[in-house]
Symmetry: C2
Amino acid sequence: MTTVSKEMNTMDELTMDITKDIQENFDLIKKGTMEIHNEDELLRKLIRSKETGKPLVVKLGLDPTAPDLHLGHTVVLRKIRQLQDMGHKAFLIIGDFTGRIGDPSGNDKSRPQLTEEEVLMNADTYREQLNRVLDRDKTIICFNSEWLDAMKPSELLQIMARHTVARILERDSFKKRMASGEPIGLHELVYPLLQGLDSVEIEADIEIGGLDQKFNILTGREMQQKNGVEKQVAIFMPLIEGLDGEKKMSKSLGNAIGITEDADVMFQKLMTVKDHLIIRYLNLLTDMKPTKINELIRDLTERGTNPKEVKLVLAKEVVTLYHGVKAAELAQKNFEHIFVQGQIPDDVPAFKWQSSDNLMSFLTRNDVIVSRSEVRRLVAQKGIKVNDQLILEPEVIGLRSGDVIRIGKRQFVKVA
Amino acid sequence: MTTVSKEMNTMDELTMDITKDIQENFDLIKKGTMEIHNEDELLRKLIRSKETGKPLVVKLGLDPTAPDLHLGHTVVLRKIRQLQDMGHKAFLIIGDFTGRIGDPSGNDKSRPQLTEEEVLMNADTYREQLNRVLDRDKTIICFNSEWLDAMKPSELLQIMARHTVARILERDSFKKRMASGEPIGLHELVYPLLQGLDSVEIEADIEIGGLDQKFNILTGREMQQKNGVEKQVAIFMPLIEGLDGEKKMSKSLGNAIGITEDADVMFQKLMTVKDHLIIRYLNLLTDMKPTKINELIRDLTERGTNPKEVKLVLAKEVVTLYHGVKAAELAQKNFEHIFVQGQIPDDVPAFKWQSSDNLMSFLTRNDVIVSRSEVRRLVAQKGIKVNDQLILEPEVIGLRSGDVIRIGKRQFVKVA
């Protein structure tokens, strides 16, 4: 990590003292980022904001399609929350202007054309979900149609005239689509400029986004400069991998953790994170200070700490963010009860034993396991225990009241 | 030339009689054109217009930069005049909407950014000049800002969304500029669509232009169709070569004939047209009927007529269009007087002879020739005659009242 003092050598005209809190804030902002354009400017803005007491304007552009947020989305949102906790305010701009245009050609399935009602409904969904991550008092949600609708068509063309086709087509996603012969609608070339206009309009100090937004966010910088507004600092966050440890977190891949999932589930899922991603999750999904994370890294690499210990810290940290510290503690207790100590939880379902039952019929009759063949499969995998004894012949086993059957790691059934 | 009856074979559903006047009009419209998209549609429109008595709407787009019209421009304008003479009305659309945008990047020098005042002033200049070619009662000059300014920016983007970048960049001029790395402003991609919107707005039946407008005019056809308006017929006219016989007519190349030039000059210039362009000039610069032009072609190719004879017909025809038949007859008389019979015209300027004069001092003192060295140059080229006698020593020649000095081919001076 580059230290600030090293950066300072290149900042001749910057002759202020970087106070301890600014240094700490800077380090926290930098945590987990992929790129910052540029750090000098960010430092200047932080210092000025402290001196003047004027919070920075942090911008995030939001797609107007209905969101269903998982921890992958919070990589960007947490960065904003960290800035809010430092006193800055967030402008979340819902791109309803472009959302209402969509892609009438139908070429781009990811851009359905939305009605005004749909946009408003989606905005409510956003608000409800964003409130779980952001500081509601420092969050302004707005619609870019507010200023873009007010433009004259000639103004729009004049803005377009300041940009060349070649330059816009340099954008990665356009380049790829051009190369593969995939159609690009003429309107799409304007979207980066409209996004830039949003930055001009709200006079954004910082815009946060994924690297896929690099072109658009840097275009915003240029456009602010052309319009006499101080350039925004661009902060690029990475995409986070899901629980499979490889692919980017996504609901459709089944490797995601939803931010509304209950505390126990969230905790359990976080405990399945692949070891090589523990520190990455701490960096991207929590607000933990870099100094503390560095300690944990040392635990893992120098002090021989079991990764499971650090995972427990991670899980508790994340669950606390979404469910509070009490729920997190309880979730940890429940988790340790079942998974670490192998104990039986308190609320295990119980079914009556009939005289004709054997273990096989007991499990299938009560729909504990869907089929006889599934029971056989589990037995073959050594996945069924009764009172901690491995079962090999389920059709000859008789039970009595109070016996506990354990299926796989997490499922328990009692004989009533 | 394709005959109409041959075309008709492909027009199954068209079962009307093509009357003699429609056939004649069709032939005259077709005269000199490069391409018509397409002839069937044109015939249909002509027939319907005759049946309903409703004139066709003929569209021409005009650049809002200041015009200075020469015969090259009239290739398109005469075609419109011919349509007006058949009863149809012309909409001349001044592209002030795009003119006011211009090319702020300064990349395209041919597109200066114009103020509203400049646009209006240029429109007046247009009106004055167009009245020399078009039928003022059947000409409507309008500004496309009227409807384009009223658009919402979202409407503009929605229109853009129906066109792909790849398709627009297929346009010849874009392709060339992209290939050579010349910058293309993003706004320029929209211009073809705006021009198409003009066709939608005025419900054009016919749009006329040069082949350089092919993409734009055909885009207009598509856009009309998408908007439920009958497609316009596209008529493409060629560019005409100038008096040098090779390069396209252009003021800056010095090979042009201005439409405001006086009758004698116009007549004389037309008599210098290269022989291979006589018929082309008749086709593109006059309203002469194709049957009559075919006669002249036969005169030249079969009957051994001297091209000069046909040129006289051409010159008189063109001068009549811009100065009336009387002025054209006088111009022809003057031309024949000087150039054909070598005679002295009636209105030769006269200067007094002074006792101290010789030919040299007489010519330079009266500013007939700018300098003594110029006199000497002309003498050396055998360019100065007195009463048809070649002069070799201008400084020893004395003259008397009534002598006529001929300088070069066309300039005459008399001794008073």
